[in-house]
């Protein structure tokens, strides 16, 4: 829609577009949407609603029992284990979201800059992402073994990294960064490649070079992609479960037990599916709230320097 069109004309054009699509494409659109909508309803919305209902009941692992209203939630807000697990989840996110995005950006810039070895660099950076979690945790576990691991061979000493209160979470975060940074690199690289070459040429004609190019062209152009990368990373980091479950089993003494791990224990070890469902719903609320906060922050930042 061209901005200089008179208002009435624009409205007419909009109506025409909407009308024609309704008349001609309505049925095929519905047809095309059906498979997705069916799957969405069947495998996402219905289970999600069922989880919500489950959270309002007293249920074992397999049997849905009495409706108890908000009792599970009332318990949840006073449950120190839940809050502690949420704290651990935030701590992990703090250790991973920014570093993963920053490192991904750095790697993308390197790949973009050194065109001759582009393929090799990109391959080397992306390779760990291909590993299944079982392999990644196995490698990390071997490297971190107290007496035989390569890490202790290098730094000396016999630190049991994964059993150390101060080190367990940072070490898991480090492993995760190594494992998943390739994805961020790829996303940011795509963003870099979308910046029109003419911008750089024009800047070069104006005498800009080096960091000035990055500050005045690359960064402003890339900012939306970085914002998206941060948001996706935040969600992925909050959803951590596998790495701590396999590497530390939530230890030492629950200091790396994240929210999803607590939910898992509640459902499967304690056989309390109703309470586990309440944890799940509360966690969804937290993730959604943080994502909205992130979007709001982006808008504020974008508003300040357009």
């Amino acid at each position: 829609m061209k901005p200089f069109m008179p208002t009435r004309q624009r409205q007419a054009a909009q109506a025409a577009v909407a009308h024609s699509s309704r008349r001609g494409d309505g049925r095929s659109a519905a047809l095309l949407l059906t498979p997705f909508v069916t799957l969405f309803l069947l495998f996402f919305l219905a289970p999600a609603l069922q989880t919500f209902y489950l959270s309002l009941t007293e249920s074992s692992l397999t049997r849905t029992n009495a409706f108890v209203g908000l009792a599970n939630y009332a318990l949840l807000v006073r449950d120190p284990s839940f809050w502690a697990s949420l704290g651990n989840t935030f701590y992990f996110s703090l250790l991973t979201v920014m570093p993963l995005t920053a490192l991904g950006l750095l790697m993308a810039l390197l790949v973009h800059r050194f065109t001759r070895v582009q393929g090799w660099l990109q391959g080397a950076f992306f390779l760990p992402y291909v590993l299944p979690i079982s392999v990644m945790t196995l490698i990390a576990d071997w490297m971190l073994q107290p007496s035989t691991g390569v890490i202790n061979q290098i730094v000396g000493g016999q630190t049991a990294w994964l059993a150390d209160v101060d080190w367990a979470m940072p070490v898991v975060a480090l492993g995760t960064i190594w494992w998943t940074v390739g994805f961020n690199m790829l996303m940011l690289l795509a963003g870099l490649r979308n910046i029109p070459r003419e911008l750089y040429e024009a800047a070069a004609l104006d005498g800009a070079r080096g960091f000035t190019l990055f500050r005045c062209i690359t960064w402003p152009q890339l900012r939306p992609v970085v914002g998206t990368a941060l948001l996706l990373q935040l969600i992925v980091s909050l959803k951590i479960f596998g790495q701590t479950y396999i590497l530390t089993v939530g230890g030492p003494f629950n200091t790396t037990r994240v929210t999803l791990h607590y939910m898992y224990e509640t459902a499967f070890t304690h056989s309390d599916a109703g309470y586990a469902a309440a944890i799940a719903m509360a966690f969804v609320a937290v993730v959604v709230a943080l994502s909205l906060l992130h979007a709001l922050l982006r808008r504020v930042v974008a508003g300040r320097n357009p």
Binding site: E58, S60, L61, T62, R63, N65, L75, D79, P80, S81, P146, A160, L162, A163, V165, T248, V249, G250, G251, P252, F253, N254, E265, F268, T269, H270, S271, D272
Partner: protein, 431 residues
């Protein structure tokens, strides 16, 4: 032999359709076990022997991952009617499984028909396999916590008697002194014990000591041991913080420490016996070893134990056909009668005609710790108790923290109790 013939006869009579049994097509029974390693191989051999001994029944055994994954799968499959016909379980989990509706009760007439008599089993185990007046399992064994010792190192530490066996140890001070002198006089570790995150040995030992003190674990839905809990954990922790035992070893590292001759004692269950026997036979064990029951530290020599048992999953909506139930019980009776090979796995058979046989009494090193079977203590009854159950899992998170010195015994107990309190108040789950 008589029992088997009777079984085969009744099977042929009642099998439906009759023609199937006569045409020689065997009844197939699926069994899920959580037995791995040496136990798994031994059970596999027993199943093969049973299958070869007759043609009417064929048992197909599947091994699943020990612990919570096994029980989750058993529970979820049994309640939707997709479980196996037979499962091995821990008797410590029976209140949870039978009370939750996961297992099918075994009627008195069925027991009788299969030749399974209460009097043939140790009373304690038979009693543990019952829930609210009905049998839900047939006990196979018990596997208590025992004290392994390296004769070479304990002799150097002056701890052996003139008969070459461990001189009796009584009381905490004597036990601590034994670990200390072994450590100081040999330079090796006094004690090898798994003590890392999520290890269970400390729970087993702690429960043994509480029982020896006559402290009650749980009463009226709350922990009732009072200060004894912290005191016993502190006593165990002292062995680690004073350096008699190495903190933080995981299970394989702790057994390697002992089997490699780097520790004078090892506190562990009897399931390591086959490894000791094997290493001795192969000549790879560089020392003679002995096994003693857990020492008497307080009023008696109570030692933690658990038992494997056979049970029939309830399989809701898919009740076990009578001929299949009969076949399953015949299989279980066969295993009981042939549990001598199970004894060679270190376990004490629950079936008395085998356990009391001369052959079993003469079996070494089992005979050395046979007395342990008289003072065993199980996890107390409760749906949250037992092998890989929620309370043991919580204990395994916090108690090892005291052994490594990361938590004081008081902190560890307080964290454990806080976490477990909600479970103790909760009603037993129905599955």
């Amino acid at each position: 032999m008589v029992q088997r013939r009777r079984f085969l006869g009744s099977c042929a009579l009642l099998a439906t359709p009759l023609a199937r049994a006569q045409s020689g097509k065997p009844i197939e029974l699926r069994m899920w076990t959580l037995l791995s390693g040496g136990d798994g191989a031994r059970m596999h051999a027993l199943v093969n022997a049973f299958n070869a001994s007759q043609r009417a029944v064929r048992v197909v055994s599947t091994t699943l991952k020990w612990g919570e994954p096994f029980y989750t799968k058993l529970i979820t499959s049994a309640v939707v009617g997709a479980g196996p016909e037979i499962a091995t379980i821990h008797l410590s989990r029976l209140p949870n499984l039978a009370g939750g509706g996961v297992l099918r009760p075994i009627g008195e007439a069925e027991l009788l028909a299969a030749g399974l008599r209460a009097g043939d089993y140790f009373e304690r185990q038979w009693h543990k396999s019952r829930y609210k007046g009905a049998s839900y399992a047939i006990p196979l064994d018990m596997h208590p916590l025992v004290l392994y010792y390296n004769k070479h190192l304990t002799r150097r530490a002056g701890l052996l008697g003139s008969d070459g066996r461990l001189a009796p140890i009584e009381g905490y001070e004597a036990l601590t002194a034994a670990f200390r002198s072994a450590r100081q006089r040999t330079g090796k570790a006094g004690l090898a014990m798994e003590a890392n995150q999520s290890s269970f040995a400390v729970w087993r030992l702690w429960l043994s000591l509480l029982t020896q003190r006559k402290a009650t674990l749980i009463e009226h839905g709350r922990f009732a041991y009072g200060s004894a809990g912290v005191e016993e954990l502190a006593k165990i922790s002292a062995w680690f913080t004073r350096g008699y035992a190495q903190a933080g070893l995981n299970y394989p590292a702790s057994t390697s420490q002992f089997m490699g001759g780097a520790a004078a004692f090892m506190l562990n269950g009897v399931w390591e016996v086959p490894e000791m026997v094997r290493a001795t036979r192969l000549g790879t064990l560089g020392f003679d070893y002995g096994i003693a029951p857990l020492p008497r530290v307080y009023h008696d020599a109570s030692a933690w134990t658990d038992s494997h048992a056979f049970a029939l999953p309830a399989n809701e909506g898919q009740p076990l056909a009578p001929e299949k139930a009969r076949a399953a019980l015949a299989f279980i009776a066969y295993i009981s009668r042939h549990s001598m090979s199970w004894a060679e796995g270190g376990h004490v058979p629950a079936y008395r005609p085998v356990a009391d046989s001369n052959q079993a009494r003469a079996l070494m090193p089992n005979a050395e710790y046979a007395a342990a079977a008289h003072n065993v203590v199980y996890d107390p009854d409760g749906w949250y108790m037992g092998a890989a159950g929620p309370v043991e899992s919580m204990a395994s998170k916090f108690m090892p923290g005291a052994l490594s010195g990361q938590l004081t015994p008081g902190e560890a107990m307080r964290m454990f109790e806080t976490e477990a309190a909600r479970l103790l108040r909760k009603a037993p789950p129905r599955y």
